[in-house]
Amino acid sequence: MIQIEKLRKVYRARGREVTAVDGVDLTVREGEVFGVLGRSGAGKSTLLRCVNLLERPDEGRVRVDGRDLLELSGGELRRARQRIGMIHQHFGLLSSRTVAGNVAFPLEVMGVPRAERAARVAELLELVGLTEHADAYPAQISGGQKQRVGIARALAGRPKVLLSDEATSALDPETTASILELLRDLNRRLGLTILLITHEMDVVKRICDSAAVMRQGRVVESGPVRELLLRPGSELARGLFPLPEPVLRGDTTVVDVTFEGESADRPFVSTLARTYSIDVNILGGAVEDIGGTRIGRLRIELPGPPDVNAAQLAHLREAGLTVEVHGVAGDAAGAGDTATEEEAPVS
């Protein structure tokens, strides 16, 4: 639904050049929720604004629903934008218009006749649960309600794609949850493809089917969320299951074990301890529900250095677990930016 190829955007100001987006490839499939995760300044906002050409990229291609946006004329681009919804961190509502007036705005822009407009506005307000607040002004409603207005407005042109620019970053956790739920619901009911950017791990965890992690203008990893979490060295996994840098003593083996679904239900720690008659020390861990699947990560410590634990590690791998051994080259998650080497774009 959205194809981004070799996208580059450079900002020039007073002789200085800042590369905000540095050769990004990204594909968002139809009907999925795709999250781009990154810290502020990672270039994700610029990337998103390049998708509807609020920013013009210096290089690369952007295709939405099969159309190359960079080849469109001014008028064609405006019509294409009417079919791409966008919601914003600070909502971007017109303070001088009521809730209904704000939702009517894109319809006016599109030239929808007045009578039809009223019916469509009522429909959209019902969709986001704001019918009662139709006559309120933005200043009179809460942040969560404002974002609902933003969503209703974004859907006015019956878009196939919705772009979300940190839509929940200005909201409290509870409101965030309800907005994410609404987005998830719209994604399922309307088959809406959603590309969102966020700095909140939680957003990716709650609603994204696929994700990409951005750092310094580049995508450092991307793919289906489940796959990323199981991938050794994944930044996403490290962010979702935060474990401190391990203390390596040399006479023990520190192992991060990632498990999902069925393997999460099996008592692998006690099985391991019993089979090899060893003491297994649990250092930390967490379990999360990702799109209905339980995924967890546990850090355990086995007696003896890694080379004497080969059989034990093989046992864990055979049980269908993802195993990362710390302090061993080529295998460790803690060995730094191993993830940067695998810039595999999703195809």
């Binding site: 509807n52 609020l54 681009l77 405006r78 019509r79 294409a80 934008r81 009417q82 791409i84 966008m86 914003h88 600070h90 909502f91 971007g92 509502l93 017109l94 303070s95 001088s96 218009r97 705005f105 894109p106 006016e108 822009v109 599109m110 002004y137 933005p138 200043a139 009179q140 933003g150 407005r153 006015a156 042109g157 772009l163």
Partner: protein, 218 residues
């Protein structure tokens, strides 16, 4: 001077002042908004960036604002005469009044438009709005409280300028104040004119404030 002698003069003067103020306000609002919008649009990073045009407009506005009204009024007499056929009277005074108020109001319009949340403009662009739609439906509409507040300030300035216009035959309350209050030492007349002018300014300001409150939804 008796009260009965003063009343018809004051009525006439007030009418002339109102006439000058209302017409010049009307033309100033049109010209000022047009110029203010152009200043914002043509600015670097605006919707229609054209830095050279922007600089030329800026210089014109600054020149207009740096000329004292009395001097501008006399300097453009040939222009006024060409436009309305005469250089004296209330009709003629409307020309310099408008010309001096447009740059003043244009700057206030510019400031009001810049106050509009750029996020709202970006949102409108993302919705596929054209430049004309953004100016009309977003910028001018969102800036209405600021535009009205600025216009109120401008009208008050126009009332005071119109008194100066009286000095060179523009008529109005200023003309009365000079001929009766100043040259003939008619203190009663002077006081009555002062009261009228103060009342007029208060009225304009109150109406303006009321309109701003009505238009603000923040």
């Amino acid at each position: 001077m008796t009260w009965d002698e003063m009343v018809p003069l004051l009525r006439q003067g007030t009418l002339e002042t109102l006439q000058m103020t209302v017409w010049s306000t009307l033309f100033t609002a049109l010209g000022g908004i047009l110029l203010g919008v152009l200043l914002v649009l043509t600015d670097r990073g605006g919707l229609l960036p054209a830095p050279p045009v922007n600089q030329v407009l800026g210089v014109i506005v600054n020149i207009g604002r740096s000329l004292p009204f009395v001097i501008l009024m006399m300097a453009i007499i040939p222009f006024t005469r060409a436009l309305v056929g005469t250089s004296i009277g209330t009709q003629a005074a409307i020309v310099p009044l408008t010309l001096s108020a447009i740059p003043f109001y244009a700057r206030l319009v510019e400031t009001a438009l810049r106050e509009v949340d750029p996020g709202v403009v970006a949102a409108a662009q993302a919705m596929g709005a054209s430049r004309v739609q953004i100016v009309g439906k977003v910028l001018l509409r969102e800036a209405r409280p600021g535009l009205v507040a600025g216009l109120t300030v401008t009208v008050v300035a126009l009332i005071s300028y119109s008194a100066m216009a009286g000095a060179i035959g523009g008529g109005g309350l200023g003309d009365l104040a000079i001929r009766y209050g100043y040259q003939r030492f008619e203190t009663g007349m002077m006081l009555a004119i002062l009261v009228l002018l103060i009342a007029l300014v208060q009225l304009v300001q109150s109406l303006g404030d009321l309109a701003v409150r009505r238009l603000t939804h923040k």
